[in-house]
């Protein structure tokens, strides 16, 4: 690692002020991506602003038909939360499948969605459920939040404080995990929400995206049969040592059908 300075603010306002005063500073959440990145010298921040001492940013609560998860809430806490299990079991199952036990003890929902790794699990739930990302200064709809490869709508120095998930009628997430990393080669999040059916795909493209033709088919009939034979074009999908674009396109159909089958 290159050398850096380290601060551990005790309020969101202090964290935002530090980031505003130093454009080369970086936020440290759980560190499950950032620390390996630093170790490989792929980033050289002037300082890390560790959000680990902001207890107000971690926690899970339900307000009516909304599940609210603090940005610094760890995957393990979401996975074993009774509130999440009762309100949104698909999200608990998703969190339980991220990385491995040790990673789930450090990694956070805020860190995952802000990093927007194209193979991360959480972005599919945020987009698939039409969640709202709350920051220190505003609220951002999921449809506007993920803007591209490792990119989001966040401004410089903006901090995510919580994610608000409107509870769906039913939802499921199925992924084809890379056997080594457990990242999604492809993952599909299917939800029947108050504002219609949403299908979000991770792992396949340069970032999480919605599959419009699958949403239309499931709106007409929420059954596994409805998505049988549906095709998503391989044109803009990822091709790498793990899977070709064509294979990923095929997996989208297979996993969407499996996800629907678990809740139809």
């Amino acid at each position: 690692m290159y050398a850096f300075d380290y601060t551990r603010p005790t309020s969101v306002a202090d964290a935002v002020a530090t980031l505003a005063s130093d454009s080369d500073a970086t936020v440290l959440a759980g560190g499950m991506t950032l620390i390996p990145t630093l170790k490989q010298r792929l980033a050289q921040p002037s300082q890390l602003v560790d959000l680990g001492a902001l207890p107000g940013l971690a926690g899970i609560r339900r307000e009516g038909d909304t599940l609210i998860i603090g940005a610094m809430t760890r995957h393990a806490d979401v996975a074993r939360s009774e509130i999440v299990a009762a309100a949104l079991p698909a999200l608990a199952a998703l969190a339980d499948g991220i990385g491995d036990a040790q990673v789930r003890h450090r990694g956070t929902i805020g860190g995952s969605i802000v990093n927007h790794d194209p193979a991360a699990d959480y972005p599919s739930a945020v987009l698939g459920l039409g969640a709202t990302v709350v920051t220190d200064r505003r609220q951002i709809a999921a449809d506007d939040f993920f803007t591209g490869l490792f990119a989001t709508a966040l401004e410089e120095g903006e901090i995510v404080t919580e994610v608000r998930f409107p509870l769906p009628k039913r939802a499921a997430y199925v992924k084809f995990p890379n056997p080594a990393s457990r990242y999604a080669v492809v993952g599909v999040f299917v939800a029947e929400t108050g504002s219609g059916v949403r299908v979000a795909v991770t792992g396949a493209g340069p970032g999480v995206f919605r599959a419009g033709n699958f949403e239309a088919a499931l709106t007409a009939s929420f059954t596994p049969k409805a998505v049988e034979g549906l095709v998503w074009s391989a044109d803009d999908l990822n091709s790498d040592m793990h899977a070709s674009a064509g294979y990923r396109a095929h997996l989208i159909g297979v996993l969407a059908k499996r996800a629907v089958a678990t809740i139809a």
Partner: protein, 163 residues
Amino acid sequence: MTTLSVSLTVNGKKVSADVEPRTLLVQLLRENLHLTGTHVGCDTSQCGACTVHVNGDSVKSCTILAAQADGADVRTIEGLAQAGVLHAVQEAFREHHGLQCGFCTPGMVMSSADLLVKNPNPSEHEIRTWLEGNICRCTGYHNIVKAVQHAAQTLRQTAQAAE
């Protein structure tokens, strides 16, 4: 470059050290505190040989800064045995020979001990799933899983006897 003063509890003892911000917890444990039972295998947060408990949760100490562990309660493999008596997981790894070269063993033991606190009666599938973050290149995991099953049984019997 600046240094930070960190204070934490390691195996029940309060310790402090002045470290660079980029110092990893595993470096603090091995190089400052000379607790070399915690191994560095891959150094890329994959193999789990460096697993320790931080505030009761198994984490990879090569992927957490010492500064992040400031104020934390840390337990390493050296702190698992109590008063010279091996922890049930350690005893079970010995009994079932849950190792060959032994390099991954500290991490395997720490990870398994954490599992059995959270899930005292895991199925074989749950054990194998939990240990996905610990890589062993010798054993094929068979005796490791047997050891964890045996330790789970021992710990349940001990808990029952205490009631």
